[in-house]
């Protein structure tokens, strides 16, 4: 595989916000990760420069999605509406995936620059990956303290397997391209 990035975001001292790092920790021992860049980031903003030109970027994070805590959402960020109106060149299409659309444009701050805004920035700069997937675990407790809530802790394995599945699919597609007709 070439140009695959897997990044987690989250703070382990904000309860379920530590879901991203927990998933990454479970993922790192798997052989499928040996040929991709895997790491944790302080915020989605750090994806800029890191994921430039990648074939696939997978972001793992806790999400506020409503529904059931611990539920794993796999969403492809195909296109995003913005509070400032749509730009067909920058925000094409709609978000698709197995879960409900969990993303909404967020105000930009260096601590909280949301994935949506980061992807808009990357597209403006012409550096966005070919595909961006979000693997999110619905959290319920974002208060202070270490440790995931029980539902989220149970969701970590499923989320790690979801990421691994995305990486295997990308690897298969890459091999198919390399083999050629």
């Amino acid at each position: 595989m070439q140009g695959v990035v897997v990044a987690s975001v989250g703070n382990e001292l904000r309860r379920d916000d530590g879901a991203g790092p927990a998933v990454l920790a479970e993922l790192l021992d798997r052989p499928v990760c040996s040929s991709v860049w895997c790491g944790r980031l302080g915020s989605p903003f750090d994806l800029l420069g890191l994921w430039d030109g990648a074939q696939l970027a997978v972001v793992v994070d806790a999400v506020r999605a409503g529904g059931t805590p611990g539920e794993v959402h796999v969403v492809e960020l195909v296109g995003l509406g913005t509070s400032h109106g749509s730009d067909p060149e920058v925000d094409p299409g709609v978000a698709t995936g197995t879960g409900a659309a969990v993303l909404a444009p967020a105000s930009v701050s260096s601590h909280g620059t949301g994935l949506v805004e980061v992807l808009r920035l990357a597209r403006s700069l012409g550096t966005a990956p070919a595909r961006v997937m979000l693997v999110g675990i619905a959290g319920s407790d974002f208060g202070h303290g270490a440790g995931l809530s029980e539902p989220v802790r149970r969701g970590v394995g499923e989320a790690a397997e979801a990421v691994a599945g995305l990486l295997r699919a990308a690897s298969d597609a890459s091999c198919a391209r390399d083999d050629g007709p």
Binding site: E12, L41, G42, D46, H84, S107, V108, S110, R120
Partner: protein, 436 residues
């Protein structure tokens, strides 16, 4: 989102969600009969969890735990924690360890300032709603900012082991000293970054700035012979000169009902301002030559009291960070050992360092078993809160002729001038400006 109301001659401007600041808070401004009656910066900062959380933990855990307070300035928390614990235990790391800490801090200043200047602050001066518009309008400048931020992260990774919540920092020094080769690899990028930072100063110096002057009492560290970052005595523009422990005793914090953050004043009851404007005012003679020349060309005098021009001073501090980092890289020798031995026992200590946003100080009471009995952590933004409100008041008073939308933007801008770090976990702001 914004809202405004006009009732009974009172003008109220409300902004639901302050944009382009760190964290979670709201701003409420009430103007009555043409006079600003009320300005409230409401900080939804989480309660002082970390001070309570640290009680009973080993003092040697303080750097790792407090780093989690902030994802953008973890080094500042680690450095202040180390300084406070080392002060309590009577530990004095070697000059080589001090230099390596300063290099790490240069990385944090660079990435934090680059991010604030380009992502949060510059859009205000160019009429852009957000960074995406700025990236379209000024792609070269924006890419330059990303490059500077990326290099800051790389410096933090090289020295700290990781850009987010660095893992190589410990009380006494570092777990591992990076090799000469690892550090030398930073020289080329830092040389290029110095030029990029200088170009950034020239760029922001050309913005249109409102003609505002404030009467600040500045408080910052002073380090003889160098621009302060990781150590120094605490000084003020009205003559204060004391140790971090002495300063901690002077700071009085009071809880304000509308906010979960504490408001800080010195024991004479007067507020003060920390951050880039304060550092510049108190240390302008210590600017390295390239930064001093850039300041002159940017039209900055020996003191800058226009909060809108703080963007120029932040850009200047990126020049300082690049210059200092390059000098440290060029003379780097891995400290051996990489850490001083941490003695047994306890004590009381204080440590202060200059986070990108301003003075950050910690105090710890450590029991004879080496566990923290009491902790006090005072971030720069909580120290600046009173002055931020004062600035908003001044900005609104000077802008009453503006329509509600522009007045709201000017109010938000007055907050953003100070690069506040309101909380480090959530990220929306709620600003309400009420006019009657």
């Amino acid at each position: 989102m914004t809202g405004d109301g006009h009732r009974d001659g009172t003008r109220v401007v409300a902004v639901e969600g302050l944009a382009r600041v760190e964290g979670e808070g709201s701003l409420r401004v009430e103007v009555r009969d043409g006079r600003v009656e009320e300005v409230e910066l409401r900080i939804y900062e989480p309660p002082r969890f970390f001070e309570a959380f640290l009680r009973g933990r080993r003092a040697t855990e303080a750097p790792d735990l407090t780093a989690r307070i902030c994802g953008i300035c973890p080094v500042a928390y680690q450095m202040s924690a180390c300084a406070a614990v080392e002060d309590a235990l009577g530990l004095a790391p070697s000059p080589g360890i001090g230099d390596l800490r300063r290099l790490l801090y240069c990385g944090e200043w660079l990435q934090s300032h680059a991010l604030h200047v380009h992502l949060l602050h510059a859009p205000d001066f160019l009429g852009c709603q957000d960074a995406v518009e700025l990236a379209r309008m000024e792609p070269a400048a924006f890419e330059r900012g990303l490059s500077l931020k990326k290099l800051g992260n790389r410096v933090m990774e090289t020295v700290g082991g990781r850009a987010v919540h660095p893992v190589n920092v410990k009380v006494g020094g570092f777990y591992r000293a990076p090799s000469r080769r690892e550090v030398a690899a930073l020289a080329g990028p830092l040389t290029a970054a110095l030029d990029e930072a200088l170009a950034t100063v020239a760029w922001v110096a050309g913005f249109d700035f409102p003609d505002v002057e404030a009467d600040y009492r500045f408080v910052a560290l002073r380090q003889p012979g160098r621009y302060p970052m990781e150590s120094g005595r605490v000084a003020s523009s009205d003559g204060l000169d004391t140790t971090p422990a002495g300063f901690a005793e002077l700071v009085v914090e009071e809880h304000v009902a509308r906010s979960t953050a504490l408001h800080a004043r010195l024991d004479d009851g007067r507020p003060y301002l920390t951050g880039p404007l304060a550092r510049y005012a108190l240390n302008v003679a210590e600017l390295p030559a390239p930064a001093a020349e850039a300041a002159r060309q940017a039209g900055l005098g020996p003191v800058c009291t226009n909060p809108f021009r703080s963007i120029v001073v932040r850009a200047l501090e990126m020049v300082v960070a690049c210059h200092e980092a390059l000098a440290l890289v060029e003379r780097y020798e891995p400290p051996d050992p990489p850490s001083a031995v941490v003695p047994e026992g306890g004590g009381t200590g204080a440590g202060a360092t200059e986070a990108p946003r301003g003075l950050l100080f910690h105090t710890y009471d450590i029991d004879p078993e080496g566990c923290i009995a009491q902790a006090r952590i005072v971030p720069p933004t909580s120290q600046n809160q009173i002055m931020i409100e004062s600035d908003v008041r001044r900005a609104v008073e000077a802008s009453l002729d503006l329509g509600d939308e522009e007045l709201t933007w000017r109010s938000e801008q007055a907050v953003r001038n100070h690069d506040p770090c309101i909380s480090c976990a959530t990220h929306f702001l709620d600003v309400r400006v009420h006019r009657t």
